[in-house]
């Protein structure tokens, strides 16, 4: 699932030219990335779209936001860069000094101050931002485009600062003397007061800003995402006010994440997952769990990395890589040279470490954007962070203690758990009870894959024997019933294999989904059920189910008949959620075609 090559960087794109045009020179922060040309290119794409291109807010305003955030994070390099740039844009030194010191004191108009305060809060504790913060800016007459830009500029500030912490470049300008300045975010400052005054507003559906509909037919990048993901994540949908920005982000993602030359994609997705979890960003956690599954990890492995990567089955070196990223991305003030040196001792090359830092920077860009725009989840997250427990006035590093964050395994309330633990101790009665409890679910899974009732009944015996053999290894990370379905699935596949039923096997294991278009256009009866008996309908549906390919049948049986969520179906079948969605739609449409001649308006009473 990649869109590299399709949303690639154009030929002859020279990041250095972009920086020279935008800044008048190439900052050392960029030169420090020269070992990884595609990282420089990604950075250039983002700066070009976010900072250099004229938009709803002026370049000076953008630089003011960038400077205030850099100063607030006590980032010497970025503060010097932004002060130098503001100076060259003709902003008086006294004003720059005010921004460096305490933007609360800076001589700004009321709306400008409100915008700056919003950006600072987003940078410090993104999870405290709520819809009413956006509404307050709209009340100050900021356009939706301006607010979107402010959020993206804040995200870019964190991208730059994360890189600056990791790469520690030489200053381009004489560094401003931050050490003598007041501590940022002193308690009682206006900013803190504003943050404390925030109240969680009634949850509103959808992201905070309107986003016009962009069609995959007219906006090529969406067609590519649609093809690779099966759907367009809300993350991208929420930014359609600025298609050029979306394009730049996709190019940056392509350049940084979708390559395998230094760090693997699994390593990079794991970084995105753990740092998003440390930043309490449920949306991004859900996305990257899902991506990891798409890359072949089981749902349990991905969840474990999100919950606590130290307990997952990854190598010691990878654990250290994730520790490095979490410190850099979520606890930057604790980050030191030693963290980099530690990775070198474990055998990571300087380019791999650089890439790890760039991935972390891009993660913070995305986390900030998601929280600033209030982007709604595409699918359920395995982790739910209680954002109201996050101290909204604290510095960015104030996070909930890890043990307070998740009790994922514990929150899976599984009515079977007591019987399971007895069965694990070898208690046969407990196992028998579990088998009876779930026999219908097991049978449905088997018949859905095998397509034959007698076969399915035979395969139940194999399933139960395997389940008993394997129950000791069941770790309770998923529901027991989920685990049973995966055992049933394996038993069914084994049966097809032993019979060399290649056709069915191929149907199930083949990932390709050809195009399927609905053909029946006759309107249906208003209440089809009232014209046919329950038995008639059941026979009709079963016949329909048996004539669609097994890979569609199994998804629709588990989703619509067993009423499991798409996420559960994905786990049980080892599929990605988008793949489940695609197959589910296909299955429903096929069944619709099958039912249509019987249930269309002109066919009342003609069920067969």
């Amino acid at each position: 699932m990649g869109f590299r090559g399709e949303i690639g960087l154009e030929q002859g794109f020279d990041p250095l030219v972009v920086f020279r045009e935008g800044f008048g020179f190439v900052p050392n922060l960029v030169l420090a990335q020269s070992a990884l040309a595609r990282a420089m290119a990604a950075h250039a794409k983002l700066e070009e779209a976010v900072t250099f291109r004229d938009g709803a807010i002026s370049r000076i305003h953008k630089e003011q936001i960038l400077l205030s955030i850099a100063a607030d994070r006590r980032d010497n390099y970025c503060s010097a860069l932004d002060s130098g740039l503001l100076c060259s844009l003709g902003v008086p030194e006294a004003q720059i000094d005010d921004l460096l010191n305490d933007c609360g004191q800076a001589r700004l108009s009321a709306p400008d101050r409100a915008l700056l305060e919003f950006c600072l809060r987003l940078s410090r504790s993104a999870s405290s931002v709520r819809c009413h913060d956006i509404e307050a800016l709209q009340a100050q007459e900021f356009s939706d485009e301006a607010i979107l830009e402010a959020v993206v500029v804040t995200a870019l500030a964190l991208y730059r600062c994360t890189l600056s912490v990791a790469l520690a470049p030489q200053s381009d300008f004489m560094p401003p003397n931050l050490s003598q300045k007041k501590k940022p975010a002193a308690s009682g400052s206006r900013l803190t007061a504003a943050a404390n005054g925030s109240r969680p507003s009634a949850k509103k559906k959808g992201s905070y800003l309107p986003a016009p509909y962009l069609s995959p037919n007219t906006f090529a990048p969406f067609a590519v995402i649609q093809k690779s993901h099966g759907f367009i994540p809300n993350f991208f949908r929420s930014q359609t006010l600025r298609p050029d920005l979306l394009q730049a982000e996709l190019e940056a993602v392509g350049a940084v994440l979708l390559t395998e030359d230094f760090l693997t994609r699994v390593q990079k997705e794991s970084i995105l997952l753990t740092v998003s979890a440390a930043n309490l960003n449920s949306y991004c956690v859900a996305v990257h769990c899902n991506m990891l599954r798409g890359l072949g990890l089981s749902a349990e492995e991905a969840d474990q990395i999100a919950v606590d990567h130290h307990l997952s089955d990854i190598s010691k070196a990878d654990i250290a890589l994730l520790d490095f990223a979490v410190k850099l991305g979520a606890h930057f003030s604790e980050f030191s040279r030693e963290d980099t040196a530690n990775l070198e001792t474990l055998g990571f090359t300087p380019v791999q470490i650089l890439e790890g830092a760039v991935v972390t920077a891009l993660n913070n860009f995305a986390n900030t954007l998601q929280m600033g725009l209030g982007i709604e989840p595409d699918f359920a997250s395995p982790l739910v962070f209680e954002t109201n427990k996050v101290n909204p006035s604290g510095a960015a590093t104030t996070l909930m203690p890890r043990e307070g964050v998740v009790h994922f395994a514990a929150t899976l309330q599984d009515a079977d758990s007591e019987l399971v633990s007895r069965a694990q101790d070898g208690n046969l009665e407990a196992f028998e009870e579990l088998a009876r409890r779930h026999s219908q679910l097991i049978y449905r899974t088997l018949v859905a894959i095998l397509g034959d009732a007698a076969d399915a009944q035979d395969a139940m015996q194999d399933t139960l024997l395997s389940a008993f053999k394997g129950v000791g290894g069941f770790q309770g990370r998923s529901k027991f019933s989920t685990w049973l379905v995966s055992i049933a699935r394996n038993a069914a596949l084994q049966r097809l294999r032993s019979r060399r039923n290649i056709e069915s096997l191929d149907q199930i294991c083949n990932d390709e989904d050809g195009d399927f278009r609905p053909r029946q256009v006759r309107a249906w009866q208003a209440n089809p059920e009232q014209w046919h008996s329950k038995t008639e309908i059941r026979e009709l549906v079963e016949k329909g189910l048996l004539q669609i390919p097994a890979k569609y049948r199994v998804v629709v049986v588990l989703r619509d008949i067993e009423q499991l969520s798409s996420e559960e179906v994905a786990r049980q079948l080892g599929l990605s959620v988008p793949a489940v969605k695609t197959r589910l739609l296909r299955a429903r449409l096929m069944l619709r075609e099958w039912l249509s001649p019987h249930l269309a308006e002109s066919s009342k009473g003609a069920a067969r």
Partner: protein
């Protein structure tokens, strides 16, 4: 207004109730004006309802009991 093609692109999410309010508005506007898509939506919704309530492949527990009994007998023999 969006095209039928665009409507179909969102159809899976719409059936699952997983579209943003903005997209939903676009889709519903389209549905109110396009007969073919309206038929597709209405019949798909009914398909889901009928399939969900069909009790397909449901067997009485008494069909499963002998299977489970056989398995348990085997496990008990293996143990002793």
């Amino acid at each position: 207004m969006i095209t039928c093609e665009e409507f179909f692109g969102e159809f899976a999410d719409y059936l699952e109730g997983q579209v943003s309010p903005e997209v939903r508005e676009e889709l519903e506007l389209h549905l109110s004006q396009c007969h073919a898509c309206h038929v597709l939506y209405d019949s798909s919704r009914k398909t889901i309802k009928i399939v969900s309530e069909s009790n397909s492949f449901e067997l009485p527990q008494k069909v499963f009991d002998p299977i489970i009994d056989r398995v348990m007998a085997k496990l008990r023999t293996d143990r002793s």
